[in-house]
């Protein structure tokens, strides 16, 4: 009972200090949501002006796809040079950056007091894990809700549909044969909306665990390389692929399977929490943690 009560207190404290009092984490998702929507809206407006699209043919699903789509499968060749999807990279990198510093910054200041008063390492570590997951869900949730709100304001229909013609224009896809369905628009389930967010949470948990072994900027460097590798390599064991909506099996021939994605999220999260817990409890020197 004492463990649960301590854990509850730890979570409340972390949510208060690390989320509600973290103005960057609170504000950035709104700003990003606005920027991404404006970017999407500009592109749609150009197509509407050129009579290639009508506003009624678009929906919130297209906007979501523009933000979370990522990049089409890349096949290296001389006439197709690699360039990373800046919207997707920006979204995910900023998320990992915003949750990078708090746990160990906390350990340098009031966290040590909290750790002593809690009476256990496990509560501290688990409350940080919960904080991490909640923060990432808040971050992505706010980006999506902001985009959704702007869609409503601009009169874009709210539907979970993706217009294939618009998709090809937005992501420079020349051959629509890579898509599963030949129809004009395809509908997607909520599971696909949640998968990139869950994957982002798993990657940030992994990053938090890595900070216990390496310095924070090295953990961030590894996350960065992981994201760029995911964009380049279309392989089922590269986790970032599941965070790209464009590469899902609901849309693409031989796309990533949703179930595999959730299994990977679970395995990564469980491994990160367990390894981090063992390392933090047995080997981590909290007094010498000034590696920021």
């Amino acid at each position: 009972m004492k463990f649960i009560s301590n854990l509850k207190k730890g979570i409340c404290l972390d949510l208060y200090n690390g989320l509600f009092r973290n103005c960057f984490l609170i504000i950035f998702p709104f700003v990003l949501g606005n920027i991404f929507f404006m970017d999407y809206w500009n592109r749609v407006q150009i197509l509407i002006r050129e009579n290639q699209l009508k506003l009624a043919q678009t929906s919130f699903g297209d906007c979501w796809m523009y933000i979370y789509g990522g990049m089409r499968v890349y096949i290296p060749q001389e006439n197709d040079k690699f360039h990373f999807p800046v919207t997707w990279i920006m979204l995910f990198m900023l998320g990992t950056f915003l949750v990078l510093n708090y746990p160990f910054k906390d350990l340098e200041s009031s966290g040590q007091q909290v750790l002593v008063r809690m009476g256990g390492y496990s509560e501290w570590w688990l409350s940080k894990c919960v904080w991490n997951i909640v923060s990432i869900f808040y971050y992505h949730g706010m980006v999506i809700l902001t985009a959704l709100g702007l869609c409503v304001i601009k009169g874009v229909p709210v539907a979970r549909k993706v217009n294939i013609v618009l998709l090809c224009r937005l992501f420079d896809i020349v051959d629509p044969a890579c898509f599963l369905d030949s129809a004009d628009s395809v509908e997607f389930g909520l599971g696909w909306v949640m998968l990139p967010i869950c994957m982002a949470a798993a990657i940030t948990l992994l990053q938090m665990m890595l900070i216990l072994f390496l310095k924070p900027f090295l953990a961030f460097l590894i996350s960065t390389v992981l994201f760029i590798t995911s964009v380049y390599l279309f392989l089922p064991f590269v986790p970032g692929n599941y965070a790209m909506a464009l590469r899902g099996e609901w849309l693409m021939v031989d796309g990533m399977k949703m179930m595999n994605g959730y299994i990977m999220v679970f395995v990564m999260s469980a491994a990160a929490v367990t390894i981090g817990f063992v390392k933090f409890k047995k080997y981590y020197d909290i007094l010498g943690s000034g590696n920021n």
Binding site: N42, P76, E78, F84, V86, M90, L221, V225
Partner: protein, 286 residues
Amino acid sequence: MRNVLKLELRKAFQNRLFLLALIAGGIPAVMSAVYNILLVNERMTYLGEIYSTPAYYIEGFSLMNHWMGGEAYSLGTAIFFYISPLIAALPYGWSYCEEKRNGYRQLMVARCGKKSYVFSKYIAAFVSGGLAVVLPLVFNLLLTALFIPLIKPFPSFIDMYGVSSVDPMSYLYYSHPLCYVFCYLCIDFVFGGLIACMAVVFAVFVRYKVLSIILPMFVCLGINYIENFIYTNPSGHIYHELSPLYFLRAVSAVYPASWTIILTEGAALLVVALMIGIKEGHCEVY
């Protein structure tokens, strides 16, 4: 002044993070070299079976389009140029933040003066950042050159080289390829150094060194994202590359580079670094 500069340069080059930056840049450099060497080998074997003489295709397989700066399709190249702002800031961009926090700055200022200290810090960050970016590129160039010969590019194979008349210094690429490579290495050195100076600039405002290392990367990403807003109609327009993440390559990946943009961005970074440096050189440190 000379002694402080010497001391700062020694600190910049004799720390583990400089070595780490070289390793972080060296791994993608090796990946890119291995990929390109295997690719060229495979294609040469394939073409050798079709054509009777290598003269028909040999000029398409030059060091110029298979070293890390000259190609834009291998994973190693993608990783290297993407993390180059982190690599540049890693060796010494963080030091001002660290020394501000632990009180070493006050000690140094008392001994050698504010201006000398800040100036030396910038120079050390600039040189270490520039070298951290350039050395993996030179390493890759030399490693690739062990297996792929430097054949003077022939304009008939322009599709394989990816450097056309809209790219800056394209005349050098086809006439004096090594001069072209040298010019790009100089550009990379200067921008690597300026990005490291940006880390020092951020160090003035933030408390944690991890932030001062990472923030320059978001500046580069932000510049890249601006293209989304202003380059909205790719057909019929010749846009030029805004992002250092792309124009530091000796070959265009999305848009061709432009001297105007390279010089403007370089000047802007320099002005910001100088302004903050002058401000720091005059502010109270105690």
